[in-house]
Amino acid sequence: MSNKKTQQPQIDELFQIKKIVLDAFPILLLSLFGSILAGIVLGGMENTLEILPGLIVVIPAMLDMRGNIYGALGSRISTGLHQGLLDPAQLNDQHLRNAITASLINSTLVSFLLAIIAWLILKTLNQQAIPIHQLALITLIAGILSGIILTIIVTTAVYQSYKRGLNPDDIVGPVVTVTGDIFSITILFLVAKLITGGI
């Protein structure tokens, strides 16, 4: 019982409903802002989605993948900086290059596989779909392009926040959620139009 009493203030402090809500709200609001921007692009894609059957199938995975890959990249770089493995003043570093190329390779391979998986399932279910080489080319190019852009954004955000004395771990999540959705949808849309001769 005495143990419970000494723990009580700590619990109250950490788990007050008001505190949890206030802590989380700004990040959720930022991510809402990013998602709405992505939604605006998606809302303008209705024609593209209509003439390219199967394209909509890869969208949720493309959105999630960005967060999974580049969120992980950001926290890896941030850990590296905290551990002193990476030098905040030196971007030309073998560890950093490895982390970035590994993310880009992951993103390229998974984007390509995603198109194959999606197309095979669509065909198995006897659904309409654009030719496999078109779908794969769209996700592949979109994966690489948005990968490069997100790498630049995430790396810059982590290094800059570290240099300014902020904890990059607090910055990575919001940066990826806000920029990831909007860039992956916009680039997917542009590449789809380009590949199918819409531009």
Partner: protein, 187 residues
Amino acid sequence: MVLENWKRRTIIKETFPLLTALAAVGVISGLILEAYKKTLIQYPQLLLLIPVMIGMGGNLGAILASRTSTALHLGIIELTPKNKALRNNIIATIILATIIFTLTGILTHPISQILNIGNQLSITQITLISLTSGIIISLITIALTIISTYLSYTHGLDPDNTVLPIVTSLSDIAGILIFYLTALYFI
């Protein structure tokens, strides 16, 4: 010398299988979207809501999951319904969901008007669709988070590594499905 866990090969080997599995799960959400494409194209305002519906369940789950697993590690939380810390976390998640999904509805309507994305649905309809599906999604996300945290913990796995991918990918599928059913109800 490059550290072992910063080698390209190691990083890819550790993350690639999970990423591929998550992409495959994401295809299920995509197939649900494809099945309802007619409705979505007929009401483009609903397209505007999709990234929010895909992302927000996962975001709420992520916040709840990381707090719950930290607290489990610290020994503050026991996964019983009477535990006050757990209860407060759940209540806070529901409050956050209510605020965020109400805002979503209120914000997307004028945006769809200004950008000429569509005007078939009124602001009340969009807000009701967003809020109702948002609350249901957050309840499912809460259940998924607690169940997967509990299972990881009892199986000796670190919830920090397992819960997030499970919750974000499964709450995607649930989110899209519930969003569609709710939209049909209010249209």
